[in-house]
Amino acid sequence: MVRKIMPIILCIIFAGCPDFPRIGPASIERAWDYYEDGKYEKAINEFVDVIGDEPDNGEAYNGLGWCYGILCSLSTAVDNFNTALDKDNSLVDPYAGLAFVYSDLPDHQNAVDAAAALIQKDSLYFFGHDSEIDYKDVRLVKAKSHCSLGDFSSALSEVQKLNPSFNCNVTTPWGREALLAEIERLGGIV
């Protein structure tokens, strides 16, 4: 009888106690599944637990960066992306994450640097956990940040990677206007 009741009691305890230690090891795959399903809080818990088990797991810090980025904890996201790169310098995802997050802060120069680093490492990058994010977004962020820094020539160079037929003279106001309109067309709303 006790053997039948115990699992039920445990279930009740577990269900009512979210901080109860997990049963079984944390899993980076499960954490990314949570991320892909939009369950970012759960994903963060899982990534943190992975780091608890493997403090040098750069991929887990990378995951934390993406989660905090999408939840708009931008400084925390930056810290985690940088830690991810410190732990594993073969990763490329954190550079994309840093480009986006710096663009959001906004910190245009760091956004440009992160985007440049990513493109240098993988010019056809795509983010494996969200098919909507790829090198085009990163180039767009780079172009947008170049504009904000007043470097329209570099912005034009990025835009031409996305639309080779586009050209304008960015030394003139109307050339800059055409460039901004093209960036708008490529990546934004309007």
């Binding site: 892909e36 399903d37 939009g38 369950k39 980025g69 708009c72 986006f100 997050v101 663009s103 959001d104 906004p106 909507e132 994010i133 977004d137 767009l140 962020v141 947008k144 504009c147 904000s148 820094l149 007043g150 329209f152 037929s165 050209n167 304008c168 003279n169 030394t171 003139t172 106001p173 109307w174 050339g175 800059r176 206007e177 055409a178 901004l180 309109a181 960036i183 708008e184 067309r185 490529l186 990546g187 934004g188 709303i189 309007v190």
Partner: protein, 767 residues
Amino acid sequence: MLFRCILIALFIYLPNVGISKPYLEKRHNSKKCFKENEIILNYKEGIERNRLENITKELNTEIIYRSHFANFVTVRFDKKRDIWQLIKKFESFPDIVFAEPNGIASIFWTPNDPLFQLYQWNLDESHLNMPLAWDIERGGNSSVIVSILDTGIAYENYLIPSYEQDSVLSSDGYYHRSPDLAITNFVDGYDFINNDSHPNDENGHGTHICGTIAQSTNNNKGVAGMAFNVSIMPVRVLGAYGSGTLDKIADGIYYSYQNGADVLSMSLGGFPGDSIGYGTVHQAIIAATNAGAIVVAAAGNGDVGQLSYPAGFEECIAVSATDIDNNLAPYSQWGEGIDVVAPGGDYFDTIPGTPYVAGILQSTYSQINDGFYKATVDTFDYWFLQGTSMAAPHVSALVALLISHGITSPSAIKQTIYSTTTDLGSPGYDTYFGHGLINPPVSLGVELLFSSMPIIQNPYNQQYIDIWVVSQRPLLNDMPDPCRVTLAGENSYHSFEKVAEQTYRTDFFFDTSGTATVYVTARDTSGTQGSYTRNFTVTKVIGRIGGFAESEDTRFRITIPEDMYDNTYWIVIATEEMGLPSSSYTPLSNVYKCGPDGKSINVPSVIRFSFDKEIFNDNKLQDIGIYRKNGDELEYINTEIDVSNGYAYSKVSEFGSYILILWPGKGGSSEFTTKGLSLNCYPVPASQNIFFDYAVPFASYVDIALYDVSGRRVKNIEQGAFRDYGMYTGSCKLDNGKLPSGVYFLKIILSNSQIKYEESKKIILMR
């Protein structure tokens, strides 16, 4: 010193003539701000002479001028060629730094009429800025005829007929021509009150109106008029006391356009909103506009939110009045149908630095017939008058200048005027100011201060946008005013930072759905104000639920199907005008830009345009289609047309810019079915997900589910969801491991209290 100031002014304006911008190029292509067959090429230092000549020959152009001081040449080409395309081609050569049209500059001109500088505030740089407009179109052309339907005009020296002698006062028994109309052009008119061909003014009102349009100008006397070289047709339809009957007015309209009037100016009307008895006048106005004339009418002075007729007729350009501070004048009527505003003055204001009331100054009789005293038709003076009567002739004069400048189609004239106004009041069109205060210099082709406002949505955090403006001329204080962003009824103000020469940026974070309006104003170094407004809708879409995003004007909609994830994202839809129709097609809508251009949508979406179904009276269904706009290219997308309800549908798999176009012989749209569900499922076979689309022929509740071959429901996709009439898409994740490979059926049931439809499609699932 004065000479030096002029040189500086020339220098500032010279580089800004004829700048390459598609919108302006379309709208102003009939204007001569630049040599239409000449381009200046700025080339790189050190380029060999042969190389430059090869480039110019390659593009079939001829060098006609070489600079003695700098690296530029001027080339000439066949007038039939598109200058803007050619500029693009030149700029594609690495040796060419930039290319631009060869602009035309001329001296700046101010008339010598002594009262012009002192008291005609309505024409100064802070209002209609006529000196700048006259640099482009100085007074118009005598072949353009403006008919003034009013109390007559003091346009001739003429013995007062016996039947008019009791109505006026004259010491010598003659009507006299106003001295400040001495060199104004008149064509034959008619007096419908007394049925004669001498429509002299028995009141004084019509003479004042005439002055605003075509007062003799630069004659070293009195005041100036706006379109002083055009011809005036006096048509008397109002009596000595300033009133008349509608039969005479209707006949005056017929007379005017049948005798060659291009513009009909009517500073008259009835009680606000009262159209009783105006059917005859309306028919006359329709006949006039069908014949190609433009009819301008004053809104009325009743201080109510309803227009008087004839201004209330949609064929007319209805004009409200503003005061010296560009506020709506306290007497001015406003309301639905108002098109533009123009200065009408207000006696409660004074002209700064003077004791005079801020009315509109023009010449007329020393004594106007005010109901107590008769008009003195032999003596003249300058009078400040106020009213929408005074506002309307400003618009008539502008129309006459535009026609003189080569813009002759009524629709083009209206579009030019409406699209170049200075926006007042609420951003965009509103019922107080209509499209805004007329802006003659910009209507005539002076570059808009701003020609676009790029707004860049952050691709990652989609709620954050950069707002950019690039001014076409240097700005006063080198900065636009802080831009106002209105979203969900809340205003916020955002200061710009200068990023580069004439290039400014600010940003905006939104956290709610709604219609956003971005409004920026600035003045250039000459003091001319420019403004730009951009509207777009912001829609929060929760991926798990899906939904639709709709344009601000509700004429465009994109459905967003349920997503695979829980991600929330923001769709922004903005509009831009296509410009004037080309010779081969007619845009039936704005260009609607939605989402990041070219970005794929997880599940194909449906876009819907609504349009006036009466278009089918003259056109075939097959000729109306939805097009994807990609730069200057238009790509037809397979379109289904709902003839009875005026909707056009297309399925799209990418965000982008879309427009509805009437293009005879192009496309090949088919009729949208309203008789079935048109359920489509894909891919075949399916493995992880299935996608489907279906038509909803009537507003109904929708059930969608997956069934196995035994008829057992194995997965609910949609239960009792309400769907309005239209086309929809959806998707379903086939849970890993839970559904074995095999044959399934997707079944959709639509029902409301009266009708029920259902349809199934076979699905093959292969793991």
